[in-house]
Symmetry: D2
Subunit: 306 residues, 4 copies
């Protein structure tokens, strides 16, 4: 039950077999920082590279392929007063004919700056924008990209996602959430990065409000039982995450993973699980911008059999 203070000095743009920066035990807590999606730290200094540079990997003692890594996000908070974001819908999220009318050729590299006020719990545009003025939204800090080393000796870009996690850009990965990830490599090799002060469903502009974070997480380990896709839970829901294109396939993975979960851990028949998913299941759109899109299948805890 050690608390590790870890200060990163390098970052990764892939999730794979990188040398561990720290060895920790199940039950341990890590207090660390992440830099933003473009590589800028809490002082605005460029110390890492795009896309979504990761802090880690952390080697969890005892984690073997086939095990389940448990990660609880104890604390996720922006640690600087600014974030950046893209101001234009991505061409792939609108009708193709609408895409031809977007000012994309001119603005694809445009960014807007946001002021982040952790005390007030808000983010506001640094420069007023037309009728939106100094558009202000409530903070909802989350991690866009985290995961374990990918399977089969792969190193997968932190631009995308898969069964190992990665760039899922899902609003549900926030403080208080617990995540379950399959272990593919000894030690799991867990990494974190890509903090968003907030984002909309789907990350339709291709970014959240990208900023550096203070991150505290606590790990656990379950021998065996590796899920097929990332799972999570919070106070109100259990949820399963699918990452693929098109959204249909992402939803198929999320639904199938929830089905497997309900069968294996809650002892439900396929029919009982179907009734739960079919009549009280809820779905979230994680992202519809990254190379793999993300859909999430959620079941309210109150509906789960005891």
């Amino acid at each position: 039950m050690t608390i590790h203070q870890f200060r990163p000095d390098h970052y990764h743009q892939t999730l794979g077999r990188h040398p561990a920066v720290l060895r920790i035990r199940p039950g341990d807590t890590v207090v660390t920082t992440t830099i933003d999606a473009g590589g800028n730290d809490m002082h605005g200094a460029r110390v890492g590279e795009r896309p979504n540079p990761q802090t880690g990997p952390f080697f969890i003692e005892g984690a073997e392929p086939g095990d389940t890594l448990v990660v609880h996000f104890d604390r996720l908070a922006p640690n600087r007063a600014t974030g950046w974001a893209r101001p234009l819908l991505a061409p792939n999220v609108v009708e193709p004919e609408v895409a031809t009318a977007l000012p994309w050729q001119e603005q694809q590299r445009a960014y807007v700056e946001w002021r982040i006020d952790v005390g007030a719990g808000t983010a506001s545009l640094a420069e007023p924008e037309g009728r939106l003025g100094d558009f202000t939204l409530p903070l909802e800090p989350m991690l866009g990209c985290f995961g374990v080393a990918a399977p089969g000796g792969q190193a997968i870009s932190t631009a995308t996602s898969g069964p190992h996690g990665g760039n899922m850009d899902y609003r549900g990965f926030k403080e208080g959430a617990t995540v379950y990830l399959p272990v593919f490599e000894p030690g799991a090799l867990f990494c974190v990065g890509d903090g968003h002060a907030l984002q909309g469903d789907g990350e339709m502009t291709g970014t959240g409000i990208e900023t550096s974070f203070d991150v505290q997480f606590t790990v656990g380990l379950r021998k065996g039982g590796a899920p097929g896709w990332p799972r999570g839970e919070n106070r109100d829901y259990i949820f399963a995450v699918g990452n693929a294109r098109p959204l249909d396939q992402a939803a198929q993975h999320a639904t199938s993973e929830m089905l497997r979960w309900l069968q294996a851990d809650y002892g439900l028949s396929v029919r009982e699980a179907s009734l739960l998913i079919g009549y009280c299941g809820e779905y979230d759109l994680g992202n519809m911008y990254d190379p793999a899109y993300t859909m999430v299948c959620k079941i309210p805890r109150r509906a789960l059999p005891r």
Copy 2:
């Protein structure tokens, strides 16, 4: 501002140029009933045909192609004590290999009965089902299928959906919601049907809890301004609906329609609208079972510029 009591004696399985059953004026209210998706009325008598038999069409005086029909759902309530539903996830909502393990060949025509208690505000399985027991969920009455006559002289099956509405199976079409539909034919020819006592997001088993309804709605008319896809609003959100396959395309329609709405009615630039959608947009999954899937883009009212 007339209130029309309308008792249907026939139903339609397509949305097209059917003879109107009633002519009403903008501002008028209709109090009527719908039968369930399989054609059964409040007494359980089979009086209509699959799929999703519609009450109507109602001819709205003054509605011309290019106009916008406004429909407010004043009251939607099950009018009998039972509903039926499919108990098995549909093959298209799970991973293809998982589909091969579903007991679909045996159970594709299986149904479960639910007891609907409008007073208690709940639906419960009529027969206990394994570990779910007498699985009880809160009622959330909604209309799965409604719409206007399809464009271009088409008659489109009530199994599917499009710009004209149809079988969208979206939980947001419930009491208190206002819907905006494009008018394609003189009088709009509005129809309603397919009440669900409740459903999960996506209608992953292929049905909600299907039952007959008491329905009260009030119509309005805006000259011109026909939306490209159905729009709606409720107390907290404005929303735009896309119906297509795959979900990606449904989401593209929903996003593009919201963009058009924000530009035309709220005077936003494409960049301002992008910021709204990108940083406070929310997406719902309507259905992922019908021939056209449904995705919904929502903007919270509190974020809209005044």
Copy 3:
């Protein structure tokens, strides 16, 4: 075995329950004409409306729902010396970021004229186009849109396609091909239109070379055995057609329909049919522009068991 000379005087933009223009018997031949996708006849006179106005419907005596309509295309030939076509890739067939760079906003209504020389068997650009000069291609006349009345009392736009046929825009529907269509309405109500002097795979610009046609076809009827999707055959192949979005689903329909065909008519097990499709199956892209895309699964005749 009558040969009917039929001169159309009106055209349809939907495939549905329209009054028959002619009643014919299985074995009969029809010699008629079609107008181009924009409604222009052999003299260039605008006599019909977009999209893809149809000649017909022809009522086939004895055809009942569940039967199989057989249509052999005896002769398909342009009957005027010009055709028109769109000169720009459609936004949906390129990467979304590439779409933003297309000159679509300026050229979406642009057309190029082609000179059709039936004697020489060629089509050439009427005006030379840059480095392509007077770009000349071999004629390959085909029908983009034909079909029977849609199921369930629907009237489906000739802009799209389905199990009933419709706007499939597949190069394989040319002279010498035989087509098998499911009968949904008494008399089948067969229509033809949308001749292309030629098109590329996928109809990536949204048109073929659109022109008016002389058409001769001979019908047959098989009681029962209605296919799930259009089927066809020519000298070298049997083929099955799927119409849907995305292409994946179109290919699933085509593959499944071929599987059903091989099982039902050739007596193959699912494993034998799989070996045929898997090791000598060929796939064509019909169109990737219309509301429903088209994929075709073909099996070479030489590989079929006798």
Copy 4:
């Protein structure tokens, strides 16, 4: 212009920064062997691991990121008398309801053996299969998987594909074809493997006839001009390859890459290129089974401007 005889003693299951087995110069030829998709060599000995173990990587002197690697397949030939293959359509290539009726749960690990007769140019089932008997097909040897080290320091599984090549399973990658690949790492790090004695379009059963190969290829190098996606050419066509899901996106990549090629190397305007693609473009389905599907856009050489 050296000819290198290279005998592999280890194989890779990812395309990434592996130590080179041989350094060669542009113009050099390599004569080597590949083992089958399951790791079996010409003697049937298991010497490598699934999936699609690769021979290489070969380091091409002078190749730098941004360059174009040119590979000509001089000779591709099975080097043993047997191959194996899956006998059942994959669940993802049929309609979801059809998938539920496939004997997948029983046969997902079933294989059939084929006898390969290079002299006769045929492959035949080793055991007669029902009405297919000793089903015999013409050999059409091709490489299912080859490519360069993936971008961004990634190591990508040879189960899938991307801009770097990989498991494209396209019939067009056969003897006589020339391939153009983007260089992402110094030396390009080219690998080859996964020989198919033949396959159908789409690889609908999930395999070709998998066997070990004798491979001879000659490399070239073009400074700069790295394509966005693999390109190729043969006697009759130039072609561009897209790898993604769904097929729509794969086709968008292929079309966009062809557009870029025609603009950059043939000096065509977007409109001229559109006319070529739209009116004489042909599309092939590579695979519809692997994690990324493959579509190919081809232009006949005879239609290209000089």
